[in-house]
């Protein structure tokens, strides 16, 4: 249930009265709002097939659509020395499977009015099918082929490998992508899984072949490591029947899953600025931060409140300062990337070239202020309400619901987790916000990456004296 707390705050500003000479009878104060609606969480139902496949169903009958997401644990964190192997393997699943070749799969998907997407993140490989109810049967046949009977033909592997190599060349032209690649490689040390790009690089892509991909697939794809989330116009018995018929014979397999890489401590260094040259750039792309936090941390709720206040909403301090007060950027924000291993805490903005140093000053000011001074109670209350009251809006579409349920499954959280979420958020105090800011935000050990016109921005950044400066090859 949503907490029934005060919704419209008494915000201390003057001038609510009628202006002199006002002609029209505008209601001059904001309306008092009724209590927020209670959250009716969609009913989450569950079954397990005899082979260990976990099936989670959320019926939603408003629109005749069904969304089916198969997630197999592992993903990019199991890449090993071949960065991008998980995303590449995922991309190969629908390039020939069962009796269909690569083109037939794409044509059948289109004919069924479906979308089928296979990808990987740091937690697993995901195959997502979205289909009108009337085409669900044949679409599930196709999905089962893709998940259980991928061909990984040598010709298709070579074709997709060459395409990836060409795309990697193009990626270097995008300053945001370049900044993110450098940032991850610097925040996480060489033997940490998040050090390498999820999408691979040319050195790790060139050697990919059919055998490598097949081996990775066989190690990962087992029903006892998989969950199937089904949302939309379907019931649990129907889903069990339809999924069971197609995935029930998926053998548990004999190859032991490869152990996930051990957690290696992320790099910790005194604040250092890494510059990547992009001559004549109109903007500097800034990414800064360090190791973040674990999703399972008891500080999760306080971190959400702290980050939302710092850089997680339009009214947050970073955006108010760098965009709305200074006009340096189109938007500034921050985030904790929650992953099974702690992902990064990152603050970022794209700023005008001639205010790159001034922007770094403002970032630093905000990262220090959230640690050094108590948050304003009105600001705190607004932030908590924003997080708590927006929950119903995250359960509107079948895609959103599948995403929320998938996140709970990834982190081993109960389906009742949201029942308590609002209470936990509303319980966060100003002291806790400051405590987690001091514990998880470290202005003195930031990795700062700036992609921009080095010749123009370097002198100003040097004068700041924030730390050593290192120029990296693009």
């Amino acid at each position: 249930m949503i907490a029934r707390t005060l919704v419209v705050l008494a915000i201390g500003i003057g001038g609510w009265g009628l202006g002199a000479g006002e002609l029209h009878a505008q209601v001059t104060t904001p309306p008092t709002l009724a209590p927020p609606p209670g959250l009716k969480m969609p009913a989450v139902q569950e079954a397990r097939l005899p082979n260990g496949l976990r099936l989670v169903v959320v019926p939603m009958h408003e629109v005749p659509l069904v969304q089916v997401v198969l997630s197999v644990a592992g993903g990019g964190r199991d890449d090993g020395p071949l960065a991008g192997l998980a995303t590449f393997t995922a991309g190969m699943l629908d390039k020939g499977a069962g009796s269909r070749d690569a083109n037939t799969i794409a044509e059948d998907v289109a004919y069924l009015g479906a979308t089928l997407f296979a990808g990987a993140d740091w937690n697993g490989i995901n195959i997502a099918l979205r289909v009108p109810k009337r085409s669900m049967g044949p679409a599930l046949d196709l999905m089962a082929d893709v998940a259980l009977r991928p061909a990984f033909s040598a010709a298709e592997v070579k074709r997709q490998r060459d395409l990836r190599l060409a795309n990697l060349v193009q990626q270097r032209d995008n300053p945001g992508a370049v900044a993110s690649l450098h940032y991850s490689a610097l925040v996480f040390p060489k033997n940490h899984p998040y050090h390498q790009p999820l999408g691979g690089d040319s050195a790790s892509t060139s050697p990919l072949d059919s055998a490598t991909v097949r081996t990775f697939y066989q190690r990962s794809f087992r029903p006892d490591r998989a969950t199937m989330v089904v949302t939309g116009d379907i019931t649990l018995p129907e889903a069990r029947e339809e999924i069971g018929r197609r995935f029930g014979s998926w053998p548990s397999g004999s190859v032991a899953p490869k152990g996930s890489s051990p957690a290696v401590q992320p790099s910790s260094r005194p604040t250092t600025i890494f510059l990547v040259d992009k001559p004549a750039a109109a903007q500097s792309v800034i990414r800064m931060g360090h190791r973040g936090a674990l999703r399972s941390s008891p500080d999760y709720y306080a971190l959400q409140v702290m980050n939302t206040l710092l850089g997680g909403s339009f009214s947050s301090r970073l955006n108010s300062n760098l965009r709305e007060t200074k006009g340096y950027t189109y938007g500034a924000r921050s985030s904790f990337d929650f992953q099974p291993l702690p992902g990064p805490f990152t603050a970022l903005a794209d700023v005008r070239t001639d205010v790159t140093d001034s922007s770094l000053v403002e970032f630093m000011k905000e990262l220090r202020r959230i640690r050094d001074s108590a948050v304003d109670p009105v600001e705190l209350e607004r932030t908590k309400q924003y997080l708590a009251l927006r929950v119903p809006g995250s359960f509107e579409t079948t895609g959103q619901v599948a995403g929320q349920v998938g996140t709970l499954l990834t982190f081993g959280l109960p389906f009742t987790w949201f029942d308590d979420y609002v209470r936990r958020i509303m319980a966060v105090t100003a002291e806790e916000v400051r405590r987690v800011a001091r514990q998880y935000v470290h202005p003195d050990s930031l990795t700062i990456v700036v992609v921009g016109d080095v010749q123009k921005i370097r002198p100003g950044i040097e004068r700041l004296g924030f730390g050593p400066i290192e120029v990296r090859k693009p």
């Binding site: 949503i2 919704v7 419209v8 001038g15 609510w16 006002e22 029209h24 009878a25 505008q26 104060t29 904001p30 309306p31 709002l33 209590p35 927020p36 609606p37 959250l39 629109v63 005749p64 659509l65 269909r100 794409a106 044509e107 059948d108 289109a110 004919y111 069924l112 009015g113 479906a114 979308t115 009108p132 109810k133 009337r134 085409s135 044949p138 395409l163 060409a166 795309n167 060349v169 193009q170 032209d173 995008n174 001559p279 109109a282 903007q283 339009f314 009214s315 709305e324 006009g327 189109y330 794209d350 005008r352 932030t383 309400q385 924003y386 009251l389 927006r390 119903p392 579409t397 895609g399």
Partner: protein, 453 residues
């Protein structure tokens, strides 16, 4: 929901489907017009306790004065800078405290604003919208204009100057439309014109275009229509009607011959753009060209993608898009070469594929794929109150009927293989803008002018 049985009998194909869904899409609504001309449309959807208030003002970049390109969008930013009874920064702060989010966007034809959140926040959403519709100017000043001018210039840098191939946005409209045509400049505008915008411009623009008689509010969500109507009367009824608005009038434009241009950018591989004039939003041929776009590049086995990316492997991507607009549309094909390949190679393939589609038309299977995918996109639209409300506003502006979903879907269903052949022949074999973006100092990778009469 009607149950359907999927039959697999008697099909040449691996998968087949029963006949098209007979259940028509209906999105019920009420509609009212206040004495000051404000139109209110309410759609009740009680599935989740959320609401969206979506306002369209019928003004876009096409309405801008010469020397003030980008102004409609700059003005959109100023709508968030506070009004008399909700001074800056109360708009965002009050909404966030109520669990609501908001945004706005500007196109050639319209400017739209939404707030969405828990249904309890609706009175606040409407009150804030009324205050900025009725009482924006008392707190407007040059400092606000200067600040958002800086923000918008950064938005432009992020989307144009600092984005690979971003300069295309600046160049293509001018190649396609004659000077003075309302679509000959970009929505984001030029740096020079953004610099020139003044507080006086803001006041004039507001008085002319932001009056209730130029606005339509769609409220969609877990609400009762009568209650929404009472709130809207309470907050908006006293805002005075504005002057009647004259819309830009244009004559149909045709290119007499191909216009060819090569631009250099800090990129490693060249990209080719073809752009044609095409029929306006909502017409039968507009739908046919949407399907043509799908047949060319909608999936990885669509004609251009399959040829360029999959078979010949000379491109990394291909994209075709019918940009539907009120006065006239344009259709653009884009393809990026792989390292080591030049644009004339891509051009030959694209030309041949267009000629082949014009000659042979699509296969029945291809047309079905395009239509079935389109139909599924309509279903997705119905899942979100935000998307429904925006689409209802669009339909209302096009035809006066906010529940245009089924009619729109029928427009796509009615397209035949002959229509596809005909629209490719009429519109995509016609003279076009040909724009190559090449790496610095490598104009030889671009398409040289083979100028057609």
């Amino acid at each position: 929901m009607m149950p359907f049985r999927v039959t697999l009998a008697l099909s040449l194909w691996a998968v087949s489907l029963p006949a098209q869904s007979p259940a028509p899409i209906r999105v019920p609504y009420t509609i009212d017009t206040l004495p000051n001309g404000l139109t209110l449309i309410v759609h009740e959807d009680h599935s989740v306790p959320v609401v969206t208030a979506y306002t369209w003002f019928h003004v876009g970049s096409a309405d801008e004065e010469p020397g003030r390109t980008g102004f409609a969008h700059l003005f959109e930013h100023l709508m968030f800078m506070g009004s008399q009874h909700a001074p800056y920064p109360q708009f965002d702060r009050l909404l966030e405290a109520a669990g609501a989010s908001n945004n706005g966007s500007t196109s050639n034809d319209r400017t739209n604003y939404y707030e969405q959140g828990p249904v309890s926040a609706l009175p606040l959403m409407l009150w804030l919208d009324a205050d900025r519709m009725g009482w924006l100017l008392p707190t407007m000043d040059s400092a606000k204009v200067d600040l958002q001018r800086d923000v918008v210039k950064n938005e432009r840098r992020q989307g144009v100057e600092n984005r690979p191939y971003g300069l295309v946005e600046d160049i293509l409209p001018g190649m396609l439309y004659p000077p003075g045509h309302p679509y000959s400049w970009t929505v984001i505008g030029s740096m020079k014109d953004l610099s020139a915008a003044s507080l006086e411009d803001v006041k004039n623009f507001f008085r002319k275009y932001y009056a209730p008689n130029n606005a339509v509010i769609v409220v969609a969500g877990d609400v009762k229509a009568a209650e929404v109507k009472a709130l809207v009367w309470k907050y908006f009824a006293d805002i005075p009607r504005g002057p009647a608005i004259s819309r830009p009038v244009v004559q149909p434009v045709m290119l007499a011959r191909d216009t060819v241009h090569i631009a250099e950018d800090r990129v490693q591989v060249p990209r080719l753009h073809y752009s044609w004039h095409s029929p306006k939003l909502g017409t039968a041929d507009d739908a046919a060209l949407d399907l043509v776009a799908y047949i060319l590049t909608g999936s990885r086995t669509s004609r251009l993608t399959r040829k360029l990316v999959y078979e010949l492997q000379i491109a990394t991507d291909a994209d075709a898009f019918q940009a539907s607009k009120r006065l006239a549309s344009d259709f653009t094909v884009t393809a990026t070469a792989r390292p080591g390949h030049a644009l004339p190679e891509l051009q030959r393939v694209i030309d041949a594929e267009l000629a082949r589609l014009a000659e042979e038309g699509p296969t029945p299977r291809e047309l079905d794929q395009a239509k079935n995918t389109t139909e599924a996109q309509f279903l997705s639209l119905l899942e979100s109150t935000n998307r429904k409300a925006n689409q209802m506003n669009s339909y209302y502006y096009q035809s006066g009927n906010p529940d245009g979903f089924q009619a729109d879907l029928d427009r796509y269903r009615a397209v035949t293989a002959d229509d596809i052949r005909r629209v490719v022949r009429s519109y995509l074999l016609a003279p076009k803008a040909v724009l190559s973006v090449v790496p610095l100092g490598k104009p030889e990778l671009g398409v040289r002018g083979r100028v057609t009469p």
